[in-house]
Symmetry: C2
Amino acid sequence: MSRGNGSAIGLHRVLEPAGVLPQAAWRLDASPQLYDDEVRLRVERLNLDAASFRQLREAHNGDGDAVRREVLEIIATRGKMHNPVTGSGGMLVGVVEEVGAGSTLGLAVGERVATLVSLTLTPLVITDELARWDGTDEQVPASGHAILFGRSIAAVLPPDLPVPLSLAVLDVCGAPALTSRVVRGYSQPRVLVIGAAGKSGALALAAAREAGASSLVGLVPSPEEATRLSAAELADDVVLADARDPVAVAQAVGAPADVTIVCVDVPGCEGGAILATAPGGTVVFFSMATSFAAAALGAEGVAADVTMLVGNGYAPGHADMALGLVRSRPGVRRLFEQRLDLELSVSS
Amino acid sequence: MSRGNGSAIGLHRVLEPAGVLPQAAWRLDASPQLYDDEVRLRVERLNLDAASFRQLREAHNGDGDAVRREVLEIIATRGKMHNPVTGSGGMLVGVVEEVGAGSTLGLAVGERVATLVSLTLTPLVITDELARWDGTDEQVPASGHAILFGRSIAAVLPPDLPVPLSLAVLDVCGAPALTSRVVRGYSQPRVLVIGAAGKSGALALAAAREAGASSLVGLVPSPEEATRLSAAELADDVVLADARDPVAVAQAVGAPADVTIVCVDVPGCEGGAILATAPGGTVVFFSMATSFAAAALGAEGVAADVTMLVGNGYAPGHADMALGLVRSRPGVRRLFEQRLDLELSVSS
């Protein structure tokens, strides 16, 4: 029997407090029966957000079994994997199990997908007690189900790329999409990417090139990253500076940029980005460490006529675009694989 | 003897730590001798930032004399009125005393100006011990001098408007300038202003009308504000909702806006602004209470394809534009005067 459509953004799944958005909710209804515009996934793996996993590990002094029990407890209590301390979640991988008659997400039963909306708003039930997970890694093998709303976002994992690579790309796929859009608003602009050898930075460089940048500057903090970025052949100039030092950034960049993309996940990079950008230019902040006040007051303090954008993680077609860049630009793929290797060697 | 030009953003006045921007500096050189591109003001009044004054008053249990001594101590120590606890400053009013031969600010000796860059980056010396101030009000009569850099911003106070009105307008003059620019990017857009009966909100409404908005919605939190806003005749529709309740905001607004301007100085307004904005639309956040992460994750969480701007307090011509709106739109002036009356009655 049809239940009709739900709210496209999941309001019908909010149990408490009533009336808030799913992300703000304490508890969601994660029951498996679908509203017409929903999709149910069979869960294969959770990828916990790094900040969330670190908090859990530290709270339990590295006791993996205790971490596992707390993750189970959170999901059972809240109907979603929403760490109440950090406020963060992560993403999941699963296989499409049932598609509601009114769903417009374009998914078909049997497809393997990654969710691109946070676990903090995704209804989730775990049925295997996470028995295959030892609690010492943010990659969590899992069985159970999850619900996608009418307007949720999920990307089909491409058969031609390794799953860890695809997940890493999808995690930052908002950056190249917005970079492309902003760069296309200028004629042959000079583009600066701060934190250019990282994952979002590499994709932003590649997207800026495709969007018509005439000159691409990649800023990195160390000679090692400079060597890697130069070898990837994504930037015309690779420059070295501490992104938190405004004067050093402006000097390293030289001629100011028309578009500056900030991809460094450390606080205090607002001033350098603003100083390195020409009047009439645009700064896009993708780092979650960005301070709204530092950006607003920083630009005012130096009378900088720059447009400053909050890096929205969503734009139509963002996943396909990012995966396309990884396929077409060997330098992007190489930087991602080097990062993934680094992460594996750090966590092991 | 000429000292030559300084750094346009004041780096040459930073004493410690070396190499940072004046706003980030612990201590500035506030000596009166000018570099060629600088301007010196004879200070008449400091307007302490509200957050800073509140902190000082509470720290001293309302003892005005102690507050006065601490303000003197801060200025003497740091060479600027930069509250080390709140990190905020304020603005000042003064008369142009000397203009360096290389200054491009367009100021003439004898003009009365308000600084539009923060006191947190303005070299300042006080010479009268603030003897005319009792420490119980954020308006501080003062004598001394202040320095403007090559790229500082100051606005000449217009002779036809009362000084308190001009100061209140200049304090928020970035809002109408950026609103106008964004609205002109759309063809006959529907514009929503959240917090529309406040100072920046009223100016944003007036600017949006001049920039070609076809439909203007003003959202306010109370029937009293709705009455005032309706009487000002700045909006086509006045609607009531708690800006922190996304669902209520979206319902009150009805048809989504192409451009949404957030002028409410309380946290938690990101979700409502995003939900009330159409795909392809733009949200401008002017509130310093905006959370960067809440905006970025909020848009992603509901797959909202909206452009989100950090409200830059500076744009060329912003002061003249705002003062012009106060002159040409009686409703704007009335809302400002009502606000100023309210502030006087609250602080007395």
